[in-house]
């Protein structure tokens, strides 16, 4: 069991090392001739104006909030799904109730127009 995760650990090191190795190789090979025009922000060839890091549409937050609810649900659904055959009818009733509550939340968000693009 532990050796399985040891492999994941070794693998993760290799996986993140490969892009670094590639970038170091490219760094050795490529030309380096920066100038101010080249290093300007590219927005369709025009001079950029204003700050990029500004407030953005609140709509994105609403999607993220609905997402958090369903993502937390997934944490409960997966163990339930694996152990389902060993559990009695009780597990089914519990999950139906749980999903119905969630569905109620989704319908509420839907009805409050949280899923519409304003």
């Amino acid at each position: 069991m532990l050796s399985q995760y040891a492999f994941i650990g070794v693998f993760a090191i290799i996986a993140f090392a490969l892009p670094v190795i590639g970038l170091v190789m490219a760094w050795l090979l490529r030309p380096k001739k920066p100038n101010p025009a080249k290093n300007a922000t590219y927005e369709c060839g025009m001079e950029t104006f204003g700050d990029t890091w500004v407030q953005f549409k609140a709509q994105y937050y609403l999607y993220a909030l609905v997402f958090v609810v369903f993502d937390v649900e997934a944490i409960f659904v997966f163990p339930w799904a694996v152990a389902y055959n060993k559990l009695g009818l009780y597990a089914l009733v519990e999950m139906v109730l749980f999903v119905l509550i969630l569905l109620g939340g989704l319908l509420y968000a839907w009805q409050k127009k949280a899923l519409e693009w304003h």
Partner: protein, 392 residues
């Protein structure tokens, strides 16, 4: 003959035995981890070299063109020429960029694309590591992509990149929910999260038992990897190239590799979860055929994704997110509950599967009917007020 029938597993055994003749046990383990890791890490790179060529050929044919045909026979070395070009191109970091975030994003996204391959079941016994939480690991590692997308968009300090990143995150988050729910349905039916056990549980491919889960997973994974018609995060006609607009040289290359690596990975997961993975005719007598079946099924799914890209126009962001939350999520939830109910009825397995298929088809019909009604309502509204579409 027996050696050839289970070639990959026997090759691994011979290799381990040979190493054992001159190395202690822990040395063999470390060498095996390294060799296995390096082979699996190269999967996204291999996928990019082959799939970019395939995609250009397929899209070319769909658009009545020839596609690449200059570099090598049928243009097969085009991808290698591109790789060399990316390696020797000048790297431009904009003065306004947030440099650490900007430089870290491509490394993170490429690493995440490689990590997925650790639990991919190529064949019986041909797997990096058979984790007992396999599919949960796949979902977890897939989420790293979301982080690096927002890092790239934020770090570039470019308005197009930031819009692309916001769209990307909204899209990745929204489509993750139906994806997780359809995976959970498969886990429920297979009774395990291990990718190997899920393949072994498929006496018939799950696509014939759970078509709703398959369609939801397929559409959600197309959105997760940002493929057309869900390629809003890099819609080149609207926001130039989306979140990686400021990247050049190999940094752009790693985004590209991650994109094709993820395309190949989600296709492989689709093949594993719904198309029977490495199972096929004679795959039990001759496990050597397993990886072959697996690759064929995966490439078939990749081909369908390319076909969709060649034929469908792009969605609008509000249409896309609405589709995820109002169609895919309720349909997947209903499917999950239906499968759970059927599994608790004491019936022969065949009858249970038939019931699941019936329920799935019913869900499909209802979803299609509701979509049709919504489309009709939308068309009527547009006739009344043609200029009042409220999309951004």
């Amino acid at each position: 003959m027996d050696y050839v029938l289970d070639f990959f597993v026997n090759l691994g055994r011979s290799w381990t035995t040979w190493l054992g003749t001159f190395l202690p046990e822990w040395g063999v383990t470390i060498i095996n981890y390294l060799v296995g890791g390096i082979i699996l890490v190269l999967m996204p790179v291999i996928a990019t070299l082959t799939l970019t060529w395939m995609e250009r050929k397929v899209i070319g044919r769909i658009q009545n063109r020839l596609g690449p045909n200059r570099v090598g026979p049928w243009g097969i070395f085009q991808a290698i020429a591109d790789a060399v070009k990316m390696l020797i191109k000048e790297d431009i970091i904009p003065d306004a960029a947030d440099r650490p975030v900007f430089n870290l994003a491509p490394i993170l996204i490429a690493g995440a694309a490689a990590l997925v391959w650790a639990v991919m079941p190529f064949g019986k016994g041909v797997i990096g590591v058979d984790l007992n939480v396999g599919v949960l690991y796949l979902v977890a590692v897939g989420s790293i992509t979301t982080v690096s997308v927002i890092m790239a968009g934020w770090g570039s300090n470019n308005k197009f990149a930031l819009i692309g990143a916001f769209r990307g995150v909204a899209q990745l988050l929204s489509y993750e929910v139906p994806m997780i729910l359809s995976i959970a349905t498969v886990v429920l039916l297979a009774g395990s999260m291990s990718t190997m056990r899920i393949v072994e549980a498929q006496q018939i491919p799950f696509i014939f038992v759970l078509p709703v889960a398959f369609i939801a997973y397929f559409l959600a994974s197309a959105a997760e990897v940002g493929r057309a018609p869900f390629d809003l995060l890099e819609a080149d006609s609207e926001i130039v190239a989306g979140y990686f607009i400021e990247y050049s040289g190999l940094k752009f290359g790693w985004f590209y590799i991650a994109e094709y690596g993820n395309l190949f990975a989600v296709s492989a997961i689709t093949a594993t979860l719904f198309l029977g993975g490495w199972r096929g005719p004679f795959s039990h007598q001759a496990p050597v055929l397993g990886p072959l079946y697996f690759i064929i099924k995966t490439v078939l799914v990749v081909f369908v994704m390319m076909w969709i890209r060649g034929t469908w126009p792009r969605f609008r962001i509000d249409q896309m997110l609405g589709f995820a939350w109002k169609v895919l999520v309720p349909a997947s939830l209903a499917n999950l509950l239906w499968v759970a109910i059927v599994l608790k009825i004491a019936l022969p397995t065949i009858v249970q599967w038939a019931l699941m298929l019936g329920g799935n088809l019913l869900i499909l019909v209802i979803a299609a009917g509701m979509l049709g009604r919504a489309a009709k309502r939308h068309a009527e509204q547009r006739n009344l007020a043609p200029l009042s579409s409220g999309a951004a």
